[in-house]
């Protein structure tokens, strides 16, 4: 899971930099908070993604199966992250993004715990 997290974080860093440069969006004044939102959103889906990728390795059509399984688990944190990021970039008050941040935090706690507990059931022979 840590390896996946590092890989996705590297891709996100490049993506964030390109987004700021190509779309000319001033992100530097909210960079800390933006990184926090991205980290919250990434952690949960990396946990589920790692669990499911270990699972699909031994299925037929593994490459096809992973996105199919992951889609319902990916859309919710993505939606909450988009809402929190939009509010952040539009300099809206913190109260407007609290709903999304709380849901992201709850999602992370639930799915990181689940992935840790369930991973042995996936890999045992």
């Amino acid at each position: 899971m840590a390896a996946n997290l590092v890989f996705v974080a590297a891709v996100e860093t490049i993506g964030l930099f390109l987004f700021a440069v190509l779309f000319d969006v001033p992100i530097w004044h909210v960079l800390g908070a933006l990184v926090g939102v991205i980290a919250l959103a990434t952690l949960g889906f990396i946990a589920v993604g790692t669990l499911f990728s270990a699972m699909v390795l031994r299925t037929r059509f593994a490459e096809l199966m992973l996105p199919v399984l992951l889609l319902p688990f990916l859309m919710l944190p993505l939606r909450w992250a988009v809402q929190a990021t939009s509010a952040l970039l539009a300099a809206r008050p913190l109260s407007e993004m609290m709903g999304s941040l709380k849901l992201l935090a709850a999602y992370d706690i639930v799915f990181v715990t689940l992935a840790t507990l369930l991973f042995p059931s996936i890999v045992e022979e």
Binding site: V48, L51, F52, M55, V56, R58, T59, R60, F61, M65, V68, L69, L71, P72, F73, M75, L76, R79, W80, Q83, G99, S100, L103, A106, Y107, V110, F111, L114, L118, S121, I122
Partner: protein, 224 residues
């Protein structure tokens, strides 16, 4: 009487009662003032939605117990519940647009509630596809249990996320912290419909479980 026949009996009783519920809904329940006759679809849509969410929770519970106990019957139950849940999700996603067209003027909108129900449908499809993509039945059961547990834990997020964001979809009027705001006669029709859907869930799951069990016992007998 075999379990399949019992399940079939329960399903047939449920289907007959569903007809009765709709006679009551159309002829003996008042027409809603703002929505008109389109509101009648509520008595089909909402119980199906409740059982769509409940069915995946059942899959998760059965999966959790399966991982601890390793009892094949729990896996068969989880599989049956997932298949019935898929049918109920299809009912919800079909009846919703039929109601939405006259009320909202559109069949579909990417609203929080609608999209989350579609995600639940995809979750069921993913579960069924994954079960079919694993050859070893023991491995499929274990993977199914893991996916079922994750799916059951996703349901509260799907259900409650709509409270945090603006939505076109009507807010719950029965399943909410305060008392139901549905008038008495409509509430009676709704509760009857919910009871009938419970019966249909039990009937369908019993049949599917019994068929799966007979198939497994047959395969075990042919290998012996």
């Amino acid at each position: 009487m075999s379990l399949v026949q019992k399940g079939r009996g329960i399903t047939l009783v449920g289907l007959a009662l569903l007809g009765g519920v709709y006679v009551r809904a159309l002829a003996f329940t008042p027409v809603e003032r703002l929505q008109g006759p389109a509101q009648k679809i509520y008595y089909l849509h909402v119980p199906a939605a409740i059982w769509t969410e409940t069915a995946i929770i059942m899959v998760g519970l059965a999966g959790a117990f399966y991982l601890f106990l390793g009892d094949r019957r729990l896996d068969l139950f989880a599989q049956a519940s997932a298949e019935v849940g898929t049918v109920f999700a299809t009912i919800v996603l079909t009846t919703g647009p039929i109601w939405g067209k006259p009320i909202w003027g559109t069949w579909w909108t990417w609203d929080a509630r609608l999209t989350s129900m579609l995600l639940l449908f995809f979750l069921y499809l993913g579960y069924l596809l994954m079960r079919g993509a694993v050859r070893d039945p023991a491995l499929a059961a274990r993977y199914g249990a893991v996916l079922g547990i994750c799916g059951a834990c996703l349901v509260p997020f799907i259900h409650f996320s709509v409270y945090f964001f603006p939505t076109l979809h009507p807010q719950p009027i029965v399943l909410k912290p305060s008392t139901p705001s549905l008038p008495g006669s409509m509430l009676t029709t709704f509760l009857s419909s919910f009871a009938v859907f419970t019966l249909l869930y039990v009937g369908f799951v019993t049949q599917r479980y019994a068929i799966g069990r007979e198939k497994e016992l047959g395969e075990a007998g042919s290998h012996a």
